[in-house]
């Protein structure tokens, strides 16, 4: 239920299952991600942020759709392109920006930057600078869940490129062998940096590899939040029941370059424009309108509130505290350790 009206009975499960609040919160998160990254990009171009960053603009549906199925106590492991996962799982953009600006208030107290943002309190075990690095870590988190007899799950985000790492093979095999509660969510955006899946994989789909681990391999439209959320919800239910892991492949696209240094030589303008036309945010908005969840005013309000939150977050971050070089080695070891 929401101010605008009740959800139409012919709507797909996603719209039946989630309350209007949840659906609008999801849209808001997609906007937060989009504006967060646009803000980060601008700050970078103005020289306020150093290092590199990997933007997921165009991929917000998979990040938010996959995390909608999760509880706060569920885990995720994320990637170098992890802002969306982080916000999806419930992190505060203020503290993410503080991290970008290298401040003590940041999630990693300025030590990690974009590639290492983590918010363990909301179950995010961290972005990762190593392609495939999070794969076995997610399996380990799921093992701990089982050992502690919790009914939580671990969602492991990874890219098409990462699926060519040996870590992928070892992780999926162990997860399935031990029937652990993991959902492997592949964000297949067609490229690992500049190399297309055709040029890096012997099979057409990452999901084609799932059978080698006796695991369901589901392909969804990664730009449809409903598609992603339904598939991950089902995989999560399966995992919570003790029936083991699944692989969900979200076909999507990053409309920005791989990182700041990308000159887009490996793909055509047409391809980029083509995918821009399939932007997951307007698409979700159209569905929300069509299913009667929200009208134009409500959508505008959400957009504006997300924009305001991001603007405030940047302001907060810019005024944060710079780390003291004298604290350089403080966090190498735990205080009570030898």
């Amino acid at each position: 239920m929401n101010a605008f009206g009740s959800i139409k009975p012919n709507a797909r499960p996603f719209y039946q299952k989630h309350s209007s609040e949840e659906l609008l919160q999801a849209l808001r998160r997609m906007y937060l991600i989009r504006r967060f990254e646009e803000g980060a990009e601008e700050a970078y171009m103005r020289g306020l942020i150093h290092g590199t960053m990997h933007l997921s603009i165009g991929q917000e549906a998979s990040a938010v759709g996959a995390t909608m199925a999760l509880r706060r106590s569920d885990y995720i492991t994320s990637t170098h392109r992890g802002h969306g996962h982080c916000i999806g799982k419930g992190a505060d953009p203020k503290l993410m920006f503080a991290e970008f600006f290298g401040k003590e208030e940041g999630y990693c107290r300025g030590r990690g930057g974009s590639m290492h943002i983590a918010d363990v309190a909301s179950g995010n075990l961290g972005a990762n600078g190593i392609v495939g690095g999070g794969l076995p870590i997610a399996v380990g988190a799921a093992l701990a869940i089982r050992k502690k007899k919790r009914d939580d799950v671990a969602v492991c985000f990874f890219g098409d490129g990462a699926s060519n790492e040996g870590a992928f093979h070892e992780s999926l095999n162990m997860a399935s062998l031990w029937k652990l509660p993991v959902i492997f969510v592949c964000e297949n955006n067609k490229y690992g940096m500049s190399v297309s899946t055709e040029r890096s994989m012997a099979v057409a789909n990452v999901a084609d590899r799932a059978a080698a681990y006796k695991m369901p391999g589901i392909i969804v439209d990664g730009n449809s939040i409903a598609d992603v959320a339904e598939a991950v919800a089902e995989a999560a239910a399966r995992a919570r029941r003790g029936d083991g892991p699944s692989l969900v492949e979200c076909k999507t696209y990053r409309t920005r370059g791989h990182s700041r240094s990308d000159r887009n030589r490996y793909r055509s303008k047409e391809e980029i424009e083509d995918w821009k036309a399939r932007d997951p945010i307007p698409r979700f908005e159209a569905e929300l309108r069509a299913y009667g969840v929200a009208g134009e005013a409500a959508l505008t309000a959400i957009r504006e509130s997300a924009e305001a939150e991001i603007a405030a977050a940047i302001e907060f971050a810019r005024n944060g505290t710079d780390p003291n070089p004298a604290d350089l080695i403080r966090d190498v070891h735990s205080p009570r350790a030898a």
Partner: protein
């Protein structure tokens, strides 16, 4: 306090059992550590006592195993991972070095990775170049890791228990030739602190810093030299990261001479670091002779037994080396 004779392998097994008894979050993972009992029979029948959930045989996937252990540690468990041979850690360097060692730091101190890795190391078994390496110096170069090398059954137990208590990742290098060595081991669970060297023998003419099996060879060499009136002080380094520099500095200030004896390849082996620490310390001015290093040869470990022996310091090499060092003939 009961004290019995145990082998080094039995002492480790006892530590594992006591840690599992004390803390349900502790579990073991590795290759063939279950019904096989471990390639070196360290886990023995623990699987019968603790079940397959706590003594987990894993597929031959070293990188994956290490990552699983990291993830389980992040999520509140205390994994003890056995590499079947330390050589196979080459497959897991990514998770050990980029993840386990750095996660706490990269996350601004917000997490712990209470992970223990056990690694059988060293030569002397005729297993050739890919099963005989001493790679501990690599890990001693990595901030965020702790690296220990116990040389006695008592230390093997006490340092392993200290490692399992530790909130940060600890790598325990176990020398394969020591597994059958016997020694007195107290029965109760006790800790030997990480980061403290041990003066295994006192002496006044030369300080010998040794690790793992070289501690025993150095002690044997010291016995021989004692008959010639040369009193060597033998320090068992025990911990390669952090290093107990103070104990070595104090000893060198007394003896004025230093030798480092270790099995790893000489260049950039642990002796390089010990030497450099003393050469930059307040002990420098006390030095009456160059600092000697007796380390492994600049070669992979060969299969042929005679060559294999020649590739790492033996007792006669140590005797000769120390004798020359003390008499100024180097």
């Amino acid at each position: 306090m009961t004290v019995r004779e145990l082998t080094y392998a039995q002492a480790i097994q006892e530590a594992l059992a006591q840690a599992m008894d004390a803390d349900p979050d502790v579990f073991l993972m590795g290759e063939d550590i279950g019904v096989y009992g471990g390639a070196f029979q360290v886990t023995g029948d623990l699987v019968q006592r603790y079940g397959e959930e706590r003594v987990m045989d894993a597929p031959i996937s070293e990188l994956g195993q290490a990552g699983v252990a990291v993830g389980a540690a992040l999520a509140g468990c205390k994994p003890v991972l056995e590499f079947q041979f330390s050589d196979f850690a080459t497959l897991a360097m990514e998770q050990i070095v980029n993840q386990a060692a750095k996660l706490r730091f990269m996350l601004g101190g917000k997490v712990n990775v209470p992970l223990v890795m056990r690694l059988p190391a060293g030569s002397g078994t005729g297993a050739a170049a890919q099963h005989s390496q001493s790679l501990e110096a690599w890990f001693a170069h990595v901030p965020g890791l702790k690296v220990v090398q116990p040389s006695t059954p008592a230390d093997a137990k006490g340092m392993l228990l200290a490692a399992i208590d530790d909130p940060d990742p600890v790598m325990v290098f176990e020398h394969k030739l020591l597994y059958k060595m016997k020694g007195e081991v107290p029965e109760h669970p006790y800790r030997v602190p990480i980061g403290k060297a041990h003066v295994a023998r006192e002496g006044r003419h030369v300080t010998v810093v040794a690790t793992a099996i070289m501690v025993h060879r150095a002690l044997e060499a010291a016995d021989t030299l004692a008959t010639e009136g040369i009193e060597a002080e033998v320090i068992d380094l025990r911990s390669l990261r952090p290093i107990d520099t103070d104990t070595i500095v104090r000893s060198v200030q007394k003896t004025t001479r230093l030798a480092c004896v270790y099995e790893g390849v000489k260049s950039l082996g642990i002796g390089a670091e010990i030497s450099a620490r003393i050469a930059e310390s307040e002990a420098f001015d006390y030095l009456d002779a160059p600092i000697m290093r007796l380390g492994g040869a600049e070669a992979p470990i060969p299969y042929n037994p005679t060559l294999e022996k020649a590739a790492v310091p033996q007792v006669p090499d140590i005797v000769t080396g120390l004798r020359n060092l003390v008499s100024g003939r180097i």
